[in-house]
Amino acid sequence: MIRFAIVYMIVVAAVALGSPNDFYLSFATRVAYYGIYAMSLNLLVGEAGLMSLGHSTFFGIAAYCVAWLTTHGVGGWTAIAAALALGTAIGLATGAVAVRVAGASFMMITLAFAQVAWGLAYRWVGVTGGDNGITGIARPTLIAFDLEKQSHYFVFCALASLGAILVMDRLRASALGASIRAARDQPRRMSALGYHVWAIRLSAFVVASFFASVAGALDCLQQKFVSPATMSLLDATMVLLMVVIGGISSRFGPLVGVIVVLTFTEFSGQFVSRPRAALGALLLFVVLFMPAGVAPWLETLLVGIKRSLWRARPNAGAAR
């Protein structure tokens, strides 16, 4: 299945590098790091069964951290490291409170925390620039590669994305991954067996907030701009929609969801005047008519095609 991630990246790269201008390259860059973002949320929603409505908090905090530090004379790489540390630390602090409960309470608490973060970004004008956000962010150089060049930055993001996705996939297959799923399905039995359900959930939460911070830092350097919108409920919902469209807890479904949702938001602006209502309508549509998401549907489609190809050959049964 690692092949899937690699094929995915190659497709994204082919689209990007074969494109006539920077527009598609920027788009593909966003697909790359939104892949990290959506996969990290899927770790919570799909694997741990914790539906976070505040995942944009860590994305936004890392973005703000990179923006503020680089515009205050700190080097790009130091700023990124600090952003990852800050995002993860805040994930640890808020997660310690939030994962004490699951289900609806967890959703509401994460949403409340996210609104605090948004409120801070919006009203703490002295640091965050308020609604105007922070502009004038420069990308660092990596050895001989000037990341200011969009194609270089795209390759950088694509590699980071591939690495992050593979790490998260390893985690999923690890013993910790198994206990995260077990804590989702049978929390009482797990604690009866001596597992610390709170600690297991918290570790999933912290890992997810780390990878969301990675995506946030990459987003800040891509957009060269950060505003409270990155932490809004709209953005938090958009990532959630990516996971849901892709198929909750399907292994690489969120990546499919990223492409669907980003394409939708990028191009729906040309046809409808109200993108938020369009996103809401898409959400309702998915909830009502695509319970399992696009990825499982695609999977059955692919299996069906494979089967019919096998059948077309006379000795298919013997070959198996």
Partner: protein, 288 residues
């Protein structure tokens, strides 16, 4: 701080607490029976505010404006419950996503109908003066809001504790399976709970409109407050919501005076502390 100012803040806090209780009691009703945190609740509040302002501007009496606002919200809530939520019953995650979807559609719909500028209406003429209370000057409208909130809370209590519908709702909250087995129609119960909860949100919106005015973004400004109240009070506990409404109302009024830039954070502090010490909330029954 002198005494007059203190009394003004106290009255302001209590008024705001009353408004919050109207809003969150509806949220609690819906959550208590359907186990769905209705994230479109702020949108129903905003719809109530806009409809209320529109009614007042067209010269309708205040009571009519309140009922129109409540009615509009209740109708939308009932339709949404019957057309969408019922079809994804039992799947918490999808239900919540559906309420978010509704919130976005309603938010943009209101923007399309009423435009992006704040939409204001003045309080009814009889309530436009100010009152002298305990030596402090206070707008009469806010006192009226407090009175309406208290009366509504009392009516709600009567409805839930003393009527057949209330008995069904309480039974549904306690044990839905058994209630259904005893012959209560679950769809009717759900729709009426959702409609009643939406009605309360709409009325709260219309009551708040002359104070805060209706504006785009009101929905997600008010929703976090409702969440904090509900988490603080205990999920689905009306009594808990009542207590917590006044705590949050007080913080909302006094916070900006003490720490202007961090006022928004102060609101969430008691919630974080409660979560750490008592995850089920002040008067909540069980931590699910």
């Amino acid at each position: 701080m002198n005494q007059q100012l203190a009394i003004t803040y106290l009255l302001g806090s209590v008024t705001y607490g009353g408004l919050l209780f109207l809003l969150t009691s509806g949220f609690c009703l819906i959550f208590g029976i359907m186990r769905v945190p209705n994230l479109a609740h702020g949108s129903l509040f905003m719809l109530g505010a806009y409809v209320g302002v529109a009614a007042l501007r067209s010269g309708a009496p205040f009571a009519v404006a309140l009922l129109a606002a409540g009615g509009a919200a209740a109708a939308l809530g009932a339709i949404f419950e019957a057309a969408v939520l019922r079809r994804v019953a039992g799947d918490e995650m999808r239900q919540v996503l559906a309420t978010i979807g509704l919130a976005f559609v309603v938010g943009d719909g209101i923007l399309a109908v009423w435009g992006g500028n704040p939409y204001r209406a003045q309080a009814p003429l009889a309530l436009r003066k100010s009152l002298q209370l305990f030596g402090a000057v206070f707008p009469a409208y806010r006192v009226a809001v407090l009175a309406i909130a208290v009366v509504s809370a009392a009516l709600l209590w009567l409805l839930i504790e003393r009527t057949r519908m209330g008995a069904r709702l309480r039974a549904g909250v306690d044990d839905l399976e058994m209630t259904r087995a005893l012959g209560v129609s679950a769809p009717a119960l759900f729709t009426s709970a959702f409609a009643l909860g939406s009605f309360l949100a709409g009325v709260a919106g219309a009551l708040a409109a002359p104070i805060v005015s209706a504006y785009p973004g009101l929905d997600f400004d008010i929703l976090p407050l409702a969440l904090v109240v509900v988490i603080l009070g205990g999920m689905g506990s009306l009594a808990g919501a009542f207590v917590a409404s006044f705590v949050v109302g007080g913080l909302y009024i006094v916070g900006p005076v003490l720490l202007p830039e961090l006022s928004y954070v102060i609101l969430f502090l008691p919630m974080a502390i409660t979560m750490a010490l008592r995850p089920q909330g002040i008067l909540g029954r069980s931590a699910r």
